[in-house]
Assembly symmetry: C3
Homo-oligomer: 348 residues x 3
């Protein structure tokens, strides 16, 4: 675990400044000790450099003269992430296929995969090389889990769910459950069988306790590289593009389509059957009830362009006063008309 | 699985049009191939009929002349749902009671029930005929699971929870947990023991990763035929009527009562101790802070009648401009009063 | 279970009124039967006393003459909570360490702890005296579960999560999962390893299906005595103070800090890197996008002081009308200016 500053410079391929030092950990500038590596993410925090006790700091060349020991980087956030990987302890402690797991005789599990106790793998399911399935994971019939993927404890894949490679699913998330579909009948609501499936592409990461439904017909799809936070709901037949960011507690209703690199902040709701263009960004707690053009920021419920919402919200603060001002205007105008009419009368 | 159009017509008891054809699957009009069955849900999508490659379509008689092969229906959505049931592959692959499950000697499990590995059934719990309990299901003491009910993986029933027959609970949902009740004491917040229970009536379906609490005293109840989507929260002592629809991420606070056929759209919040009348419908993301009359549509936070909210939201867009217009009016009126007073002065 | 009114008076150390009676259960004033104990929480419900069939009621001395049998209390809600504890049936039915659990040889589990089937305890994890770990619980490497704590079914503690004593975690909750951190790279979003951990202090209770992430660097912390409802999301590096109340479906984004005794009502969202002062209270569904002073009530999205929001929301109802009134004013003023100018013209 312990390594020296100069060894880190070599591993990360970054220019080093200052004498060598044993580096034992990583920490923020405020909390770092004399054997910790830290980083300066943005010039606006540069004032923290004066007081930091960090043994060394990853930072841009501009700030190197403010600190004795440094690793010089064009992208300190990215290089610090790379450094963190060297100090990370990976979750998990077992190898092989536990005898306390249930692996169906018709399942295909690669010998290099790690299967924890109390995991279940159904018939015709395929689990590829270097996958890790933790306790309580359920992999239904005909699922596929691509290489190097991790399913943390109690993740559930309902039948026919397809995961790409290098996918990470955090604990308790349910993938490929029934979509929410009913149709009125003389005997009450009749369930519409959900016969589609769910595809999660490569390099997707999904947080804890989410629910992503399979399609009614066809496919629900989460695009390559997309990152989903905790407690997110994605309805049946939704298509999320590549490299999107869906923050915690977002909900996307059935059949809506997101382009690539769309960002939805926390607690955003998207109604059904909408289209959100590439690179559009929706601010926290917004409610989207119409399709949105790409490359723009939106905010509010109902969501409008963010700049417009800011002006509306600023006006709300003045609204109670505005109501009074309009009443005053009405009174004064009435008075003016009265005196004017009296004036006219006098003149006549 | 494969069957012919004429066989389907007989099974579904629908008039058929056109020569027979092998039907291998079901799909939307856009994606259907020449051996797929599709459906026209509404006349407004009738333009899709010209381009569809579907082998046959379930549709109303009015549109039958636009397609060579059809099943004629008075309710195409409902009849397509019935057709889907013929093509559906049910989840699950095991039968019997797994030896890797834990069944308490004082539990009563019907021989026809399917109990997966790693399921737990506590003392005095009753599991009726044809139930299916998937992996990781926990059924606490004195629970009852009615006939033909399905508990998908990792569903949790805390002690004394009662489920009717034909109930479906999706993965990860927690039923009958402690309500959120504390009372201030000299030593901080004191927990109020939650000694009530939870009743889920017949034909209810509940989505993934929901939480429905048992009552503090008495009972929390979900009425017959009600459908609940994923990630929904229902507090202690809530009563939901029959045939309600609660969409994803809805939250209902303690002791509120919903009538029958109430619809709450996604992310709606209902405060505590309120009453919502039969057939009322609350639009997405609304926040309800007062009791609502039935048979009406509501929207907004705080929720008002939907039509009213639409007018309010339309006014918001004009609000920043309105602030300026009022300032202009004030200035002009002042100017007018000044000139008027000067006029008067001149006249005197 | 059955006990008499006079025995209860002695156990709870409360003055008793009326002859002794066997007490078999507890219920609300409306539903109580003649052998039930009930309580009057607040003088505003005193009218229920006339009709109640309760065998005895816990109430303030002021109301004692309205009922034959009573336990007299200065704090009826708290004393009723104490009484409920006598009638509560605790969840659970097993003792000892189940042979169907997985306990790593390097884990340290106190002999008095109860470990259910299908629980997993990883290496170097410590489970202290009188803990109860239900089915499907996962305790990762190097975790610690303090004395007298309960982890209900399917609770997940990722590696290095630390729980104090007398902690209760409801089913399906995930503690110490990865924070949501990515940094742009030439190859898309790069995961920032989350090397911190999560600390839950003594006497904390957390609801079902929540997600509380561990820190990116350093620690996420939930303070002593804080109570968290179901489906709550708490991001990495958040610090929640002591004795806070976080109601269902709340979301707190990364690095925000809450003081002590903060209350967040249902579905509230708190943006990242904010500070909420001691004793501040945020109303249901609010969206907080700036730091808040303590000891105040807030409401709305964006949240403002509650009283102010009430006035704004009241104004919304008048807004569509206000738009019309301003248009009328403009028209009338214009008319007035015209006639005035004509008058002037005439006069000239």
């Amino acid at each position: 675990m312990a390594r020296t500053l100069h060894e880190l410079a070599e591993t990360l391929d970054l220019p080093v400044q200052g004498p060598d030092l044993e580096i034992k950990g990583v920490a923020s500038l405020e909390l770092a000790g004399e054997h910790d590596l830290s980083f300066l993410s943005s010039p606006k925090h540069a004032s923290l450099l004066a007081a930091t006790k960090a043994g060394a700091v990853i930072l841009a060349r501009d700030h190197a003269d403010q600190i004795p020991r440094a690793l010089i980087s064009d992208n300190p956030s990215l290089d610090f992430a790379r450094a963190l990987r060297l100090f990370e302890k990976e979750q998990g402690c077992l190898s092989g296929h536990s005898e306390q797991a249930f692996i169906h005789p018709q399942a295909q599990v690669h010998p290099s995969a790690i299967i924890y106790p109390f995991a279940f793998i159904g018939p015709r399911a395929v689990v590829c090389e270097n996958c890790r399935l933790f306790c309580g994971v359920y992999v239904g019939e005909d699922c596929r889990v691509g290489a190097h993927s991790t399913l943390y404890p109690n993740v559930v894949l309902m039948a026919r769910t397809i995961l790409g490679s290098n996918v990470i699913i955090h604990p308790g998330t349910v993938l490929g459950g029934d979509g929410f579909g009913y149709t009125p009948s003389p005997h009450g609501l009749e369930k519409v069988p959900q016969v589609g499936h769910l595809v999660i592409e490569d390099h997707v990461e999904i947080g804890a306790n989410c629910a992503i439904d399979r399609a009614a017909l066809g496919v629900t799809r989460i695009g390559r590289g997309t990152k989903v936070d905790n407690l997110v709901q994605i309805g049946h037949n939704v298509a999320v593009g590549a490299d999107c960011i869906l923050v915690s507690q977002v909900g996307i209703a059935g059949s809506s389509k997101l382009g690539d690199r769309v960002t939805l902040a926390g607690q955003v709701g998207i109604a059904d059957h909408l289209h959100l263009g590439d690179d559009c960004r929706v601010g926290a707690k917004s409610g989207v009830n119409r399709s949105l053009e790409g490359c723009k920021d939106y905010l509010g419920s109902p969501a409008v362009e963010a700049r417009k919402f800011m002006r509306i919200a600023a006006s709300w603060n003045r609204l109670p006063d505005l109501v009074k001002r309009v009443a005053t205007l009405e009174k004064e105008l009435k008075a003016l008309k009265t005196t004017k009419s009296e004036d006219s009368h006098e003149q006549n």
